[in-house]
């Protein structure tokens, strides 16, 4: 464009330019004097800001600014910057004549004359409100999308955390309905999926479980923490036992609940957290139980009572019934505790053993299956009980053995003292008799003393035999001989004694040969005849030897004091006579020894007797 040089031309050009500017509608273009007063105004400015040229010319441009900007000195600062730097750009809220705001994009340019003198400012303003709104909306959309993504991520994360949590979590609405449950909660309720809790039949789930407090008292659903916080109570954790009525299995759970309130602070939801403390309880319980069981087993030697106590302690640990079956010889004892096993329940059986011998069982019965820990506890209990029962048994046997020995020593002392007394009296008379020089009397006394010595000898031999037979050290030296001959010999040894007691003996026999231990059978016959003499009280004694059904039979019968029916079985027991009747002489060993010898030969010995009617002993030996 050629530079206008003629003033008219320039004027014409200026005028055209002015018209151009004034006709621009989309931009507010106006000029300010040095102080900031509006000195020109175009149509765009009128349209944008609502002022007519007449209204605004001469007014300070700060009227376009919101009061706080004006107060902050923003209009003046913009002019100062434009003056210093030539131009300044700005964006911000501006005020229309009607007071409404619009977002303005502003360029302020310093106007200088040819000498460079600052003469005023040109200000071009555009309305960016729409543009800004669009940008704002977009920004909001982006932010919202990001927020949504974040929220979804957070939700997924929370869901994942809740799902993987080992504690059960449920959320209840004020009616008690479960609106959320995680997998752990579902598992605790015996369901596979959390959905089944939320959409399943809650009443059926509730019915399936029975809840007990720490002391084992039933707990109403209304007393559970979730319901309590929904009822506005302070949250308090609660330890409960939950029994699954289908399996009978009990678990321990620590329940905590918190309320989620609405804006008014009313609880609208309850969040329940169930922490399964069964293992912790169990470890503690088992340790306590085993310690208590050990002390119960160790404290009392009366194992019946202590076993009963242990069964009582064990029953709640296993949540079922616990019983001990103990074999004691042929006797079977059973002690137990706990509820009777329900039909269809399961049993866990452990052997009671000690020193390689099994003598009983421990049985645990309950509705639900057993796990490795149950088996471990049962095994440990059986092991300890086995040792304790064995100890109790050994102790009992030892005590009995000591008592028997004490008794025996006392009887032995008594029985040895009597013949010794008789012998020592005779010996003490010898000097007197020697002084008198009566050799006939002396000879008779010497024979008596000899008999007394033999009696002492027999007693001592019996004592040794008891010990030998008891320890199984007797071996039979069998040889062939005629029993009737042996019996005749034994009777011969008693002739004098029988005569002295004013008794008589009637012996009838037939020859019966067999292979027996001569010395031992002699002992049997001697014991029987000696008894007949002792208890026959001077009566007639009948002795018979005969063959009966391929066996040799020996019958020794007296007509003396006899034996009461109740004592007949006991007379064959070792030392039993002591308990039956301490007043009868002899060690009470003869019949026991006789029975041992006869039985070792494969034979039998029996007695028939009645008080004051005498006794009839029958021995049978295989030939």
């Amino acid at each position: 464009m050629p530079v206008p040089d003629a003033p008219e031309e320039r004027l014409a050009t200026d005028e055209a330019f002015r018209l151009l500017v004034e006709s621009v509608l989309d931009y507010a273009i106006f000029m300010l004097d040095l102080a900031g007063h509006v000195v020109s105004w175009n149509q765009g400015a009128e349209r944008l800001k609502g002022y007519t040229a007449a209204e605004i010319l001469g007014k300070h441009f700060s009227v376009f600014y919101p009061p706080e900007e004006k107060a902050a000195g923003r209009p003046a600062r913009l002019l100062a910057i434009a003056a210093a730097e030539g131009r300044v750009e700005d964006e911000g809220w501006r005020v229309r004549k009607d007071g409404s705001l619009f977002w303005a994009s502003v360029v302020v340019t310093a106007l200088r004359d040819t000498t460079g003198e600052l003469r005023g400012f040109a200000k071009v303003t555009r309305d960016f409100t729409e543009r800004r709104r669009a940008a704002e909306t977009e920004r909001q959309l982006v932010a919202e999308a990001a927020a949504r993504r974040g929220a979804e991520d957070a939700q997924r994360r929370i869901a994942a955390i809740l799902t993987n949590l080992s504690d059960g979590v449920t959320v209840q609405d004020p009616s008690g309905r479960v609106i959320y449950a995680n997998d752990a909660a579902a598992r605790a309720m015996g369901l596979a999926k959390a959905d089944e809790v939320v959409h399943g039949d809650l009443a059926a789930i509730v019915d399936r479980f029975r809840i007990f407090d720490e002391r084992g008292e039933p707990v109403e659903v209304a007393r559970l923490p979730g319901r309590r916080v929904l009822a506005g109570e302070e949250p308090a954790p609660m330890l409960v036992q939950v029994e699954d009525t289908r399996t009978g299995r009990r678990t321990w759970s620590l329940i905590k609940a918190n309320a989620i309130p609405d804006a008014e602070g009313r609880p609208i939801l309850a969040v329940n957290v169930f922490h399964d403390v069964t293992e912790e309880r169990r470890i503690g319980d088992v340790a306590r139980f085993l310690a208590a069981a050990s002390s119960a087993l160790g404290a009392a030697f009366e194992d019946e009572r202590s076993l009963q106590r242990v069964a009582e302690l064990a029953a709640p640990i296993f949540g079922g019934s616990v019983s001990f079956d103990v074999l004691d010889g042929d006797a079977h004892r059973r002690v137990g505790a706990g509820p009777p096993a329900a039909p269809g329940g399961v049993e866990l059986v452990e052997a009671l053993t000690a020193r390689g011998e099994c003598f009983g069982t421990l049985t645990v019965a309950r509705a639900g299956a057993f796990d490795a820990e149950d088996r471990r506890v049962a095994e440990e209990l059986a092991r300890r009980a086995g040792i304790a029962i064995d100890n109790a048994r050994l102790y009992r046997e030892a005590r009995r053995a000591v008592a028997i020995r004490d008794d025996f020593l006392s009887i032995a002392g008594h029985e040895l003292r009597t013949p010794l007394a008789a012998l020592s009296l005779q010996v003490a008379s010898i000097p007197l008799l020697l002084d008198r020089g009566d050799s006939q009397v002396l000879r008779e006394r010497a024979e008596k003393m000899g008999a007394q010595c033999r009696r002492i000898e027999r007693l001592v031999r019996d004592l040794l035999d008891v010990s030998r037979i008891s320890s199984g050290k007797v071996e039979l030296a069998r040889e062939r001989f005629d029993l009737s001959v042996l019996v005749a010999e034994v009777i011969g040894r008693f002739t004098e004694e029988i005569a002295a007691a004013d008794g008589s003996i009637d012996y009838r026999s037939e020859a019966v040969e067999g292979e027996w231990d001569r010395h031992r059978i002699d002992q049997v016959v001697t014991n029987l005849v000696a008894n007949a003499v002792k208890y026959g009280r001077g009566s007639r004694i009948e002795v018979r030897v005969f063959r009966r059904g391929g066996r040799a039979a020996l019958v020794v019968r007296d007509f003396g004091i006899g034996i009461a029916a109740g004592d007949q079985a006991r007379i064959f027991e070792r030392f039993e006579r002591a308990a039956v009747d301490r007043n009868v002489g002899g060690l009470g060993l003869g019949l026991w020894i006789a029975r041992q010898i006869v039985e070792q030969h494969g034979g039998s010995i029996e007695v028939e007797s009645a008080p004051e009617q005498g006794s009839r002993f029958t021995v049978e030996l295989p030939c």
Binding site: P419, L425, L432, V533, V584
Partner: protein
């Protein structure tokens, strides 16, 4: 008719009875024998009272304690002195039942036995 004896020996053991009879007879005592408490009571009922009864404690049928009870319950026999001769070392535990009768333990020294019996029989004469 039975004559009055010095000592009634009550014992179930044949050897013991035999020896007691021998040694007491050797020393001039007149003796009678009962094989248990029952026989002794029967003897007392039938014969003049002996100067002393030498009583074994453990006997079948009627033992020393039973005999003593019945003897003391019968005014006719209660005054007869009794010396207990027993092999039971635990005799002290049963002191009451013996009712303060002197006790000699088997085996007994002949001097002790003769000493006790002589004292009682000479006092009786």
């Amino acid at each position: 008719m039975l004559g009055r004896v010095d000592v009634l020996i009550v014992d179930d053991d044949l050897d013991m009875v035999d020896s007691l009879r021998d040694v007491l007879t050797d020393r001039g005592f007149e003796v009678a024998i009962a094989r248990d408490g029952q026989e002794a009571l029967e003897y007392l009922a039938a014969a003049p009272a002996p100067s002393v009864i030498l009583l074994d404690w453990m006997m079948p049928r009627c033992d020393g304690a039973t005999f003593r009870e019945r003897q003391l319950a019968n005014p006719a026999f209660a005054g007869i002195p009794v010396v207990i001769l027993t092999a039971d070392a635990r005799v002290e535990e049963r002191r009451d039942a013996m009712d303060s009768a002197p006790v000699l333990l088997k085996p007994v020294e002949i001097t002790d036995l003769v000493g006790v019996l002589s004292k009682i029989t000479s006092a009786a004469e």
